[in-house]
């Protein structure tokens, strides 16, 4: 049995949050640079502004975007690990509290009805999966709500099949239009149940933008959907153009014989997602 102090998890969460919110990942930068070459006018102006912003954030230590998001923390916990110290959820929340205070990040979490802010961006949305081995993999995904608000879940019938899946993805991006800070990254869950499908969509957003699903039938949905999305003409920031999405990333799970759930988790042009293994 390997013993892991939860204070180490707290420190990792704090480090990951700061890194994710301040530094734009290389794959996102490459995708924006490539998009810039295709666009003109206000769309190109928007992409140039985003690339300039990346540099200012990196050099000043200021977050890329003021919406430093809801702290989504995905943990894969090896079953040979024994956790010691404060409870896991407390350690994660403490890491979030510290990062959002030290990093001068916005505290964006509030009561759904009174709208009173919790003041420290907690609680985090913590999802723990027990896996084999003796490692703890921590993924930090601060999720802004400009894009999260445009997310969508639909219970299709099996007869709707692949065409129904692609249409659902494209329709969600079309309806979102200029609102989620396009060009978007689209996380898609296919299969599972109502709730696990939504989680699959979020998990899809942890994949690198340049990756393709290893299953050819799933990869073909990714390709078909992004081609149709980029034909919509929404463009960067909705200013019109050829680039409405940077990537469509799909994850699949077995579902019930009667159903075909499809969840679309919308993400802006900057996927903020970092991970560490303890």
């Amino acid at each position: 049995m390997k013993i892991v102090e939860t204070s180490k998890i707290e420190e990792a969460v704090c480090r990951l949050a700061i890194k994710a919110c301040v530094n734009m990942r290389g794959d996102c930068q490459r995708a924006l640079l490539a998009a810039r070459e295709r666009e003109e006018g206000a769309a190109r102006f928007a992409l140039d502004t985003l690339l300039e912003n990346e540099e200012i954030a990196r050099k000043s230590g200021m977050p890329i975007c003021q919406d430093t998001g809801m702290a989504c923390v995905l943990i894969e916990l090896g079953q040979e690990v024994s956790l010691s110290g404060m409870p896991l959820a407390d350690a994660v929340n403490e890491g979030v509290r510290r990062a959002y205070s030290e990093g001068n990040f916005r505290k964006s979490i509030c009561d759904p009805l009174t709208r009173k802010n919790t003041g420290d961006n907690t609680p985090a949305h913590l999802h723990v999966e027990i896996v084999g081995g003796d490692k703890v993999r921590i993924t930090f995904l601060p999720k802004g709500f400009g894009s999260e608000n445009m997310s969508y879940l639909k219970m299709l019938t099996p007869a709707e099949g692949k065409r129904g899946i692609v249409d659902t993805i494209v329709e969600a991006v079309k309806k979102a239009g200029s609102r989620p800070c396009p060009p978007v990254v689209v996380g898609v869950g296919i299969g599972g149940s109502f709730d696990s499908c939504a989680y699959l969509a979020k998990k899809a957003l942890t994949r690198p933008l340049e990756s393709h699903h290893p299953r050819e039938d799933v990869a073909s949905i990714e390709r078909e959907a992004i081609d149709k999305i980029n034909a919509l003409g929404i463009g960067p920031q909705g200013f019109g153009g050829k680039t409405s999405a940077l990537a469509v990333l799909c994850e699949v799970a077995p579902t019930h014989i009667a159903g075909l759930p499809v969840a679309v988790n919308m993400q802006c042009h900057c996927v903020r997602c970092e991970e560490e293994v303890l």
């Binding site: 206000a42 200021m62 003021q66 916005r106 964006s108 920031q237 909705g238």
Partner: protein, 174 residues
């Protein structure tokens, strides 16, 4: 690129067209969801507002806390469509225009045309860049709302795109 100082005259607004890239300087007031609700409560109760709406510009934004040496923290625009329900009444009350991101409703477009106003789109996601364009920041109202409070920003060369002009054209539906 066109440079403009806020507030804008009607003549200046008539020369603006959807798609124009503009650098703005002058005063803007931040307000988003909760601040709008508070402003509407004051309007309903016929109470004085924390700032005069006449020719003012509202920036739909909720900034991060300011690090040492900066007027504000990261402060890009938030999604304007959530303020569709508020904008027409404020425009009818004299508001000069808004800055935000993303499309707004047909009702807002009509109110912009009727009042010779303008809606500028800032680039969503460019929070650090916009923080550098804010030279002074002052808390004006609703401190309990934290980042959703109303701040008066003095901005310099703040990059925006004309998204809805006073002729009723928008950059989003061309």
């Amino acid at each position: 690129m066109k440079k403009l100082s806020l507030p804008l005259t009607t003549e200046q607004k008539l020369l603006l067209h959807a798609g124009d890239c503009v650098l703005l300087s002058g005063t803007v007031y931040t307000a988003r969801d909760c601040a709008h609700r508070r402003i509407f409560e004051l309007l309903d109760a016929d109470m004085p507002l924390p700032f005069s709406l006449k020719d003012a510009f509202i920036y739909y934004a909720g900034p991060c806390p300011a690090p040492e040496g900066f007027a504000t923290g990261s402060c890009g625009p938030t999604t304007s469509a959530r303020m569709n329900v508020f904008a027409p009444r404020l425009l009818d009350s004299g508001l000069g225009g808004m800055i935000g991101k993303g499309e707004m409703s047909d009702e807002v477009v009509s109110a912009i045309v009727k009042n010779h106003a303008v809606y500028f789109a800032a680039v969503g996601g460019a929070g650090a860049l916009y923080a550098n364009a804010v030279k002074r920041s002052e808390l004006v109202a609703f401190p309990d709302l934290l980042s959703e409070a109303v701040y008066r920003f003095e901005v310099e060369d703040f990059p925006v795109v004309v998204a809805i002009d006073c002729h009723g054209d928008t950059i989003y539906k061309r």
